[in-house]
Every structure is written in C-alpha cells, then in structure tokens.
Symmetry: C2
Subunit: 209 residues, 2 copies
C-alpha cells in the first residue's frame, strides 16, 4: 500500500498552487518562487514540470477559461423546459459557479484584457465553438420572439448581471454594503432569483410597450 509515485501528486500540487496564485495575482503579479512555496517545493522543480512561467500560466488559464464560459448547450437545447425555466436555470447555475470560484471573473477579465489575442488562441481548447453558440442563440431568439440583435444584448445583459457582482466585489462591497462581507454574501444569494425575475419581467414588459 506504499505510494508508488509521488510525481503525479507533485504535478497536481503545482497546478493547485499555480491556480491559487495566478487567479489572485494574475500573470504579472505572480512570482514563480511564490508558486513553489505554495506547492511546498523547490523553484527549479517548477521548471522541471512546466518549462516556463508562461507555459504554466497558459495551462491554468486554459482550464479556467473553460470554467468561465457558461455551458449553454444542455440548458438551451432542453425540450422540456420553458424559456423562463431555461433562464432561471442558467442564472442560478452561473452565479453558483462564481460563489464557488469568486476570483474567476476578475482573473479572466484581467488576463483577456492584458492580452486579448489569448481569447482566439484558447477558445477552441476551452470547448467553445462561437458559430455553434451563435446558432444556439438564434434558435433561442426565435423561441422568445426576439431578433438576433436583441438576443445578443439579452445574453450580454444576463452574463453581465451574473459576473459583475464578483468582478466588482471590492467596489460593491465597500460602496453599497459599507464593507460588510455578510451583507454582500446575502446580496449574492438573493441575486440568483433577482436577476432571473428581472430578465423575465423585462421580456414580459415588452408587451406593455
């Protein structure tokens, strides 16, 4: 029952450590020494497993970009959900994801703005196919009786409403909740139903034009 190989364990220790450090500090702010310390290993070992900081970073980034992207296909294609339920599911799952990974939004936004070409570079590997996604949105637009343009705005609005509360946490918490973490967390929990309600009301409200 002796552990045969430590290497595999070391690799995942490195990945865990790198993830924690990179997500909080970004590529520019992270130090290889810091990651080594966090993983409890020698700095040279980092370069033994991942040749360079860049390589290690991209390994982490690819994975986190995949997490970041909402997996719309299963929800939107479901036949036994009303449009309203699809929206509720989406919002709830997406906000829950960020409650579990609160630093993910700020991390991804920071890195794609540092180097925008990284998006095109990794979008495929992150399991996103823009064309298929746009087709999907087109179908959903029809279902909701929206133009594709309106659908794109709707999508961006929903995603914004889910992501910004996390990416803007320091500001929101300070300005709206007097730096009270508990109040801010309560706000996040309410938000799952609030955003869905808000969107659904808006779609209904169009009828009142």
């Amino acid at each position: 029952m002796k552990p045969k190989k430590i290497e595999k364990d070391t690799e995942s220790r490195i990945l865990d450590a790198a993830k924690r450090i990179f997500i909080r500090k970004g590529l520019d702010g992270a130090r290889m020494q810091e990651i080594a310390d966090e993983a409890g290993i020698n700095k040279a070992l980092l370069h033994y497993y991942f040749r360079s900081k860049e390589k290690l970073f991209l390994t982490i980034f690819r994975e986190e970009l995949r997490n970041f992207f909402p997996r719309l296909f299963p929800v939107l294609l479901s036949k036994d959900l009303t449009p309203e339920m699809k929206i509720r599911h989406f919002v709830e799952n997406y906000i829950d994801l960020f409650i579990k990974e609160p630093f993910l939004p700020a991390f991804v936004l920071r890195e794609v703005n540092r180097n925008p070409s990284i998006v095109a570079q990794f979008i495929g590997e992150a399991g996103i196919e823009p064309e298929k996604l746009r087709n999907l949105l087109d179908v959903f637009a029809t279902e909701l009786n929206l133009t594709m343009n309106e659908m794109l705005h709707l999508m961006v609005t929903i995603v914004s409403a889910c992501i910004f509360p996390f990416a803007g946490k320091p500001i929101i918490k300070q300005v709206l909740f007097d730096d009270n973490e508990g109040d801010y967390q309560k706000f996040l929990n309410h938000r799952k139903t609030y955003v869905a309600d808000f969107v659904i009301h808006s779609l209904k409200g169009r009828l009142l034009k």
Copy 2:
C-alpha cells in the same frame, strides 16, 4: 513669445503617459522606463516629479476612479425628469463615457481586485460618499415603488450592463462578433437604448406578475 516654463508641461506629459501605460498594463505590467519613453523624458525625471512608481500610480488611479464612478446625484435628484428619463440619461451617459475611455472599466476592476483596500482608501478622494449615495438610492427606490434591496440589485444590474461590455470586450468581440471590431462598435451604440429599454420594460413587467 518664448515658453517661460517647461516644467508644468513636463508634469502633464508624464501624467498623460502614465495614464496611457497604467490603464493598459496595470501597476504590475507597467514599466517606469516605458512611461518615461512614452513621455519622451529620462527615467530619473519620473522620480524627480513623482518619487515612486506607487505614488505615480496612485495619482493616476485616484483620478480614474473618480471618472469610473457614475455621477448619480445631478440625474437622480432632478425634479423635472420622470424616473424613466432618469434611467435613460444615466445609461446613455455612462456608456458614452466608456466609449470615450474604453479601457477604464478593465483598469479599475483589475486594480481594485489586486488590492481591494484601495477602494476604501480612495473613495473619499474620488468624490464618492457611500452614505449619501445610499440615501439617494433610497429616495429613488421610493419613487419607483421598490424596496431598498430591489433598488440595490437594480443599480448593480444597470451598472453591470453598462460596464461588462467594455471589461469583457476581448471575449464578446471574439465569441459573439467573430472578432469584427465594427460589429462590436455597432453593438455598443445600440446598447445605450437597449439597456434603458430593457430596464424600463422590466420595471413595467413587474405589474404583469
């Protein structure tokens, strides 16, 4: 007609250069040499005018934080605007601001996440008074027949919808617009009316519950 003093000019040249570099690259990514080059001066001169990178950065950040914060008081307190018009004004002005300063949202979000305490530290100097702001929102909530909780969500939702399209530009442009800058810009312009409409529909839609 000879220029009497160059000094003042030098200082503003430095500030302009620092602003450009810091906003695009952040504190961690920016290099003092780069800022000096951008300003067309010697690196030592940077330290002559602003003792350290940190000091120079904070000078820029303070100013940009002030820009970033929506100036709600004049709009929300106006007596001759309907709530609907207040929302329309706010959204249009806020999005227009970011069309002029497209890197501002990503910059502020990056830096407040790098060092959250910077918000509390500079919120006063940026001309924001959280208490007064919350009072203002309370009044507006009454005007709209909303609870304070709903008002906070509404506020965050509107701000999210304005900011995220800029902070998330690399992703949105790539995924939704196949990397076409023109399409993305058109989207931003539509967005001014779309977001306002969306919010107003939602408030009306509540009646259809």
